[in-house]
């Protein structure tokens, strides 16, 4: 695969505050790559740097082997779909989409043909002469995508483009974006704080936090083999507990020694152990590898979400079994349910569900405030 963009050792500060801290990233041709992280993690800054709106303090932005640090946005073969669409309100749908072609002096007949082709691509035929201010959010979104794609950029940057849409529309647009990316073969760099969105759309996910890249990988890699407690917590729900690696493939936590699939740690090295809520099997108390008391049960439709107190640490478990509050249950883990991570600065900050409630989760949703 061909490298299309390389970020090399990039750092950037605003008013003395480090926003990007020595990040390096390769982006390949024809890939759907997502920058994922909470607000303030530097994902939008990275995107704006590729777009040319921000210059790095240190490091290089390389586009097809050429350093483009000082190339202004209008000379880059890259287009952006902005967070709130940024459609030109004084122009109608046709004029908005045709905007980049007019700038290049493309002949009128060709513009007309290309705009109509774009309108079909984003499923808005017949909308050419509508005013953009009269369109719904979803329609404006489509116009913004058509406008950004019409000059066939090598790379399309999408800055939380679905954030303002309601849930159902967002799901539809996710599918559609993925389809458009496949059919045009243009590299998409997508920024979001929504991990589900990232998992369902991307070829590659880049998890960022505090101006650093935490992990780069495919959605399954990121979900199944999180590199540290931050990634484990940010992607999906995780129980993250302290453990000790007794030997290769042997780990001790929650008062029991388990078989696992990880090796290569030092003898008796302290580690973080990640167990996904859906990977815990509930068994009768006496048959369990370890036991705990159910402290809450929430019916979620497909499954029950239960909180279990295991030696003072609250685990979240998703199960289709029905259990009752106060019940003493046994728990069983298969070796492939256990993921071992090296200790990092994020150890101990995530993973305990003692204060968990859906409301709290929503309150701390990083996306509820827009990223600067």
């Amino acid at each position: 695969m061909k490298k299309i963009i390389e970020l090399k050792n990039i750092s950037k500060s605003f008013d003395g505050e480090m926003v990007l801290d020595n990040i390096s990233l390769d982006i390949y041709d024809n890939e759907f790559i997502t920058l994922l992280g909470p607000s303030g993690c530097g994902k939008s800054t990275t995107l704006r740097m590729i777009g040319g709106f921000i210059q790095p303090d240190q490091g290089d932005v390389i586009f097809l082997g050429e350093r483009i640090n000082d190339v202004p946005p209008h000379k880059r073969n890259v287009n952006t779909v902005f967070q709130k669409y940024a459609l030109f309100p004084h122009l109608n749908v046709f004029e908005n989409i045709a905007f980049p072609l007019h700038q290049k002096g493309v002949p009128k007949a060709e513009i007309e043909e290309k705009v109509n082709e774009m309108l079909r691509l984003v499923m808005l035929p017949g909308f050419a002469h509508r005013r953009v201010t009269n369109l719904s959010g979803g329609q404006q979104q489509r116009v913004a995508i058509a406008r950004a794609l019409i000059s066939h950029p090598r790379v399309l940057l999408l800055d939380e483009p679905l954030g303002a849409l309601d849930l159902k529309l967002r799901k539809d647009m996710q599918q559609e974006l993925k389809k458009i990316q496949k059919s045009t073969g243009i590299t998409f760099i997508f920024v979001t704080h929504d991990q589900e969105e990232a998992l369902s759309m991307s070829d590659t996910i880049v998890v960022m936090s505090e101006g650093k890249i935490q992990q780069i990988g495919s959605p399954t890699d990121i979900y199944n083999e999180p590199k540290n407690a931050f990634v484990a917590d940010f992607i999906g729900e995780s129980n993250i507990v302290d453990g000790v690696m007794l030997a290769d493939y042997r780990v001790r936590f929650a008062g029991h020694t388990f078989d696992c699939l990880d090796a290569g740690f030092g003898k008796n090295e302290p580690v973080d152990v990640v167990v996904r809520p859906e990977d815990v099997d509930i068994v009768p108390a006496e048959q369990g590898q370890f036991q705990g008391t159910v402290t809450s049960v929430t019916f979620m439709g497909v499954h029950n979400e239960i909180i279990v107190d295991i030696q003072g640490f609250k685990w979240m478990i998703q199960t289709t079994e029905s259990v009752n509050e106060g019940e003493f249950i046994g728990l069983h883990l298969d070796p492939d349910a256990i993921h071992i991570m090296k200790k990092s600065k994020y150890s101990g900050t995530f993973g305990d569900y003692s204060s968990f409630s859906s409301e709290l989760d929503e309150l701390s949703d990083p996306g509820s405030e827009a990223e600067a």
């Binding site: 777009g51 709106f53 946005p73 209008h74 940024a86 030109f88 309100p89 905007f99 980049p100 700038q103």
Partner: protein, 288 residues
């Protein structure tokens, strides 16, 4: 609020508008169409469009002209030039202001407003002092070893005075539109292939047009009917329509003064209606 309460609150303003705006306007109309004995006549209008006088230019050639049409034409010309100068100076300033830091914006705003706190007569006298042949500006020029310029008593001096007086009315409406403009639109234009000039031409300017139109209106209309500036800075040589109205009024020719005011008003109202129509149809954001 109940409809009756609403009316009651509005009452003082309605009375005010009636007494001090509508009644006087009716009087202007009444005087314009009557003679000294308050009989209907069109003679003032005929006089405005046909009266002639002979003027002698500095080279000694004498010429017969339509007095009031010439004065009106001159008022219009100076007003248009002043408005254009205000626009050319004010537009970039408004843009720079709108992009500056908040603190700088406030400081600049205050600097633009300060002259408005001073009396109009004092401002005009100050400009006389500056522009006189032996005034501050010329002393500065000769101090720098350059030739003195004769400015006072020329159209240029009148235009300088008008621009100075009306400049804030141009800057403020344009600034307020530009300050509200979404910066993402400018980024989008650059992203889609526009350099700075194309961004200005294709995005910033069209979006700022409502501000430009209201700035132009707010400068053009008072500067057409201005007086006094022309008497002081033009040394009385450039009689404007406002001076003519004032002159007739002072000379107790109330009916002719009223007729001239009436004509001016009709022309301005028609012009404004036209601007409003065009704006509503062709300018984004101009429909309100």
């Amino acid at each position: 609020m109940k409809k009756n309460t609403y009316r009651a609150v509005l009452l003082p303003y309605s009375v005010w508008a009636l007494l001090f705006i509508l009644v006087p306007l009716a009087f202007v109309g009444y005087y314009a169409f009557t003679d000294n004995d308050f009989r209907f006549t069109m003679e003032h209008f005929v006089r405005f469009f046909t009266a002639t006088s002979s003027i002698t230019s500095e080279s000694g050639v004498s010429q017969e002209v339509h007095t009031y049409l010439l004065i009106f034409w001159r008022s219009l010309k100076l007003a248009v030039i002043s408005t254009l100068v205000c626009l050319l100076l004010g537009y970039p300033l408004a843009y720079i202001m709108s992009r500056a830091r908040e603190k700088t914006q406030k400081t600049m705003m205050t600097l633009i407003m300060i002259p408005m706190w001073m009396n109009f007569l004092i401002r005009t006298y100050a400009w006389m002092t500056i522009l006189q042949d032996t005034g501050i500006f010329n002393n500065l020029l000769s101090g720098l070893g350059m030739n003195r310029l004769h400015i006072i008593g020329t159209e240029t001096a009148v235009i300088i005075g008008m621009v100075y007086d009306y400049f804030p009315y141009m800057v403020l409406p344009i600034y307020s539109i530009m300050a509200k403009m979404d910066y993402k639109l400018i980024e989008a234009a650059r992203d889609l292939g526009c350099d700075s000039l194309a961004t200005l031409r294709r995005v910033i300017f069209p979006l700022s047009l409502p501000g430009v139109i209201s700035g132009v209106t707010m400068v053009l209309i008072p500067s057409i009917s201005t007086f006094y500036i022309s008497q002081k800075l033009g040394s009385g040589k450039f009689f404007l329509i406002g001076d003519a109205i004032e002159g007739q009024y002072v000379a107790n020719n109330l009916h002719f003064a009223a007729a001239m005011a009436f004509i001016l008003m009709v022309i301005l109202l028609v012009a404004m209606a036209l601007v409003k129509y065009v704006t509503a149809r062709y300018v984004y954001g101009g429909e309100e």
